[in-house]
């Protein structure tokens, strides 16, 4: 696993992001062919990233892509009920997550498995929800990341509230909310911007615009760039190439720094592409063209970082084999972990509904226990007998 790159310096230019952005439509620090581009105002935020650290980011991206491939395979083999691939969004997730401090807190949607990986979530835990054995995979407080929200946009308000709590505590921890392009249409996301702006909450709104909300193109949700929305709420925004891990990291560091130093919320639109289906249940050929996919393949976030590393003299083969064997190991662990997840006990359905005893539920539990026991005591009591 790579080192966490933390952007801790303050930066004089960060106050006027909007002015910065006038200069360029999408901030890009690595071109699709792997050249390092200069972008005034953003460069200095990633000056400290060494080639070695870039290689670590590369490793992260390859590993999470492998996790994704392995999970998709597990789903196809019937070992997972569903899987939402992040294919194509590795730079957006790794670049942002690696900018966080461990005491920051992530509120995500279902697709942020790359973010979860960076937060230190165990591979097996990542799979529990999709294997259908648990309502969630991990303890949020252990990794600084809430369990995923499936209701589109709901988590943006949670992030805002959490950030408000950080502000109250006098802490400089930051909450970051991940959500998609489709989510921007939900009332909750807009209310989150209202509340965050009103309270100047230390929250980062990180929107992965992957061009699609299931079958709906982003143009159906908005006629303007999504990053144009936030300024009207009083929240500065940035639009970055989401397939460029450095640009994403720079933007996230700027936003985190604003939040830590009392500057309030920031909105980041990471322009990327969902190269796979919405989930393993989806058939994207029904609604989008092969040529569109080809176009985005040419902008692949991993290939471009590989090209940059190559140009920096990092031997791709050596790095490649190190990274691949890491990825293989992770995939192996993950598969083994997944297959080892036990089916929960039927009575556990009643656990954790409440923190304190609830008489109604307890009665249901004991009645159900008696029901289950009735099969043991008398196999004939069941017509089917399939439980006995």
């Amino acid at each position: 696993m790579s080192t966490t790159h933390e952007g801790t310096r303050t930066h004089e230019a960060h106050e006027d992001i909007t002015a910065l952005l006038k200069l360029e439509d999408v901030v890009q620090l690595i071109s699709p062919t792997g050249e390092r581009q200069s972008s005034p105002g953003f460069d200095s935020w990633v000056d400290d990233v060494t080639t070695e650290q870039l290689a670590d980011l590369y490793e992260d991206m390859v590993v999470v892509r492998r996790i994704d491939t392995e999970a998709t395979a597990l789903q196809r083999q019937g070992e997972l009920g569903l899987w939402p691939p992040l294919l194509g969004q590795e730079a957006a997730q790794i670049g942002s997550a690696r900018a966080l401090r461990s005491d920051d807190f992530v509120f995500s949607s279902y697709r942020e498995n790359g973010v979860a990986y960076c937060r230190g979530v165990n591979f097996t835990d990542l799979m529990r929800v999709w294997r259908g054995t648990a309502a969630s995979g991990w303890n949020p407080y252990e990794v600084g990341m809430a369990t995923p929200a499936v209701i589109i946009g709901a988590q943006t308000l949670h992030a805002t509230g959490y950030a408000l709590g950080c502000q109250f505590d006098g802490s400089d921890s930051v909450a970051i909310a991940y959500f998609g392009d489709g989510a921007t249409s939900q009332g909750d996301v807009n209310e989150a911007m209202v509340f965050a702006a009103s309270f100047q909450a230390p929250v980062v709104f990180f929107c992965q615009n992957n061009q699609w909300a299931i079958s709906e193109p982003v143009g159906l949700q908005s006629k303007r760039h999504l990053s144009d929305r936030a300024p009207g709420f009083g929240i500065p925004s940035m639009r970055v190439d989401g397939n460029d891990v450095l640009a994403v990291m720079a933007a996230t560091r700027i936003a985190l720094d604003r939040a830590r130093t009392g500057g309030g919320p920031t909105f980041i639109e990471a322009v990327t592409y969902r190269m796979g289906p919405h989930t393993t249940s989806d058939d994207p050929t029904r609604y989008r063209s092969a040529s569109e996919l080809d176009e985005w393949r040419a902008k692949d976030p991993i290939t471009r970082l590989a090209a940059l590393l190559e140009s920096r003299g990092v031997f791709p083969d050596e790095l490649g084999s190190r990274v691949n064997s890491k990825a293989d190991a992770v995939a192996r662990d993950m598969r083994a972990g997944c297959l080892s997840i036990a089916k929960p006990n039927p009575l556990s359905v009643f656990e954790n509904v409440f923190a304190e005893p609830h008489s109604g539920l307890e009665r249901q539990k004991s009645q159900y226990a008696a029901y289950l026991a009735s099969f043991d005591s008398d196999p004939d009591a069941s017509t089917q007998g399939d439980r006995s």
Partner: protein
């Protein structure tokens, strides 16, 4: 007669409604090119164009609120909510606007809106994709609430719901979408009225009331009980608001025993209303307290626990034994009153 899946029957019913009345418009997420995540609107946009079958931005309050405005303008919107658990962001528009506008405007503004909701569990899905929120709406004055259980009803009822001048919450039993059955596509004009229940199997010992996905389970229960010499009468409720109490009452006066089953949580579910109302109406006929076999008062659990959560053949049979005073898990052996 044509053989159709329940999903296919809904698709054909929607197509006929679109053809019959040009004021009918479909609104929802991914209902256009994709045809909906369950393909219920498959090919309808291709056939009727993006003006009649409209992919909306991703916001349920927006979908319902826009439908309200369209209805005021004289349209007959049919909204698709992608999954049961996503109806709540639209709850305010449903409860405070759709349900109340006809009352608020003293009958001058009609709300002929149909809100289609694939509901219930049993498909191994992740959170929010297996819920049964029907009781919220049946408790809300001003809404009609129905649920179909087979292809024939799906075909007729969706057209009746759309043709109704009142708002209708239309609950589709998603785990039965692929169930096949014979459909008389010309029956619709003479179909059973929307608010009416149907006795699917008659029997003299116990009345078993179900709706939506559990109707099929109820029929299995009746078959299993018959092997055991117990004649179960199965009532498919079809409508949850209004409930056709006359049909249930007639059945219970005959059998003296009532079992109700649904997937929604027990407390405050439809079973409570049916048990309470039938006790009021049939107190002197009841041989035992009505029994409920329902989902637990827990959130819908992860997929590997849904088998425990969902009422099934055995749990319902256990309740049948209970109302008959036969040995069962709850009371052991106990004669009825």
């Amino acid at each position: 007669m044509t053989t159709m899946t329940l999903a296919g029957a809904l698709n054909d019913g929607l197509r006929r409604s679109l053809a019959r009345d040009e004021k009918v418009v479909l609104l929802g997420e991914d209902i256009g090119k994709l045809g909906g995540v369950f393909r219920i609107t498959d090919k309808l946009q291709e056939e009727y164009g993006p003006r009649r079958v409209i992919d909306t931005p991703l916001a349920e309050a927006g979908i319902i609120g826009t439908a309200v405005g369209l209805a005021i303008r004289g349209y007959r919107p049919v909204c698709e909510i992608q999954f049961d658990g996503f109806i709540y962001p639209g709850f305010d528009q449903i409860v405070a606007q759709v349900a109340k506008l006809h009352y608020r405007t003293q009958g001058t503004v009609k709300m002929p809106i149909t809100i289609r909701v694939p509901f219930g569990g049993g498909i191994g899905a992740v959170e929010h994709h297996s819920e049964s929120p029907e009781a919220y709406f049946a408790h809300t004055a001003g809404l009609r609430v129905v649920s179909c259980s087979n292809p024939q009803d799906a075909h007729s009822m969706i057209q009746q719901a759309i043709a109704s001048d009142d708002p209708v919450l239309f609950f589709e039993p998603k785990r039965r979408y692929w169930q096949k059955g014979e459909v008389d596509t010309e029956l619709d004009a003479n179909a059973i009225p929307l608010g009416q229940a149907r006795v699917l199997k008659s029997g003299s010992d116990v009345t078993l009331v179900a709706y939506g996905p559990l109707v099929r389970t109820a029929l299995d229960v009746a078959a299993a009980a018959a092997d055991d010499g117990v004649a179960v009468e199965v009532v498919d409720l079809r409508s949850l608001s209004p409930v056709d109490f006359a049909t249930v009452e007639a059945s219970v006066r005959k059998t003296g025993r009532l079992v109700i089953t649904h997937e929604a949580a027990q407390s405050g579910g439809m079973g409570a209303e049916i048990a309470a109302a039938i006790t009021e109406r049939c107190f002197d006929w009841l041989e035992a307290a009505p029994a409920r076999v329902t989902g637990f008062d827990t959130p819908y659990p992860p997929a590997s626990l849904e088998e425990a959560f969902l009422p099934d053949l055995d749990r319902i049979l256990d309740a049948v034994d209970r109302v008959l005073g036969r040995r069962n898990s709850l009371t052991g052996w106990k004669a009825t009153a």
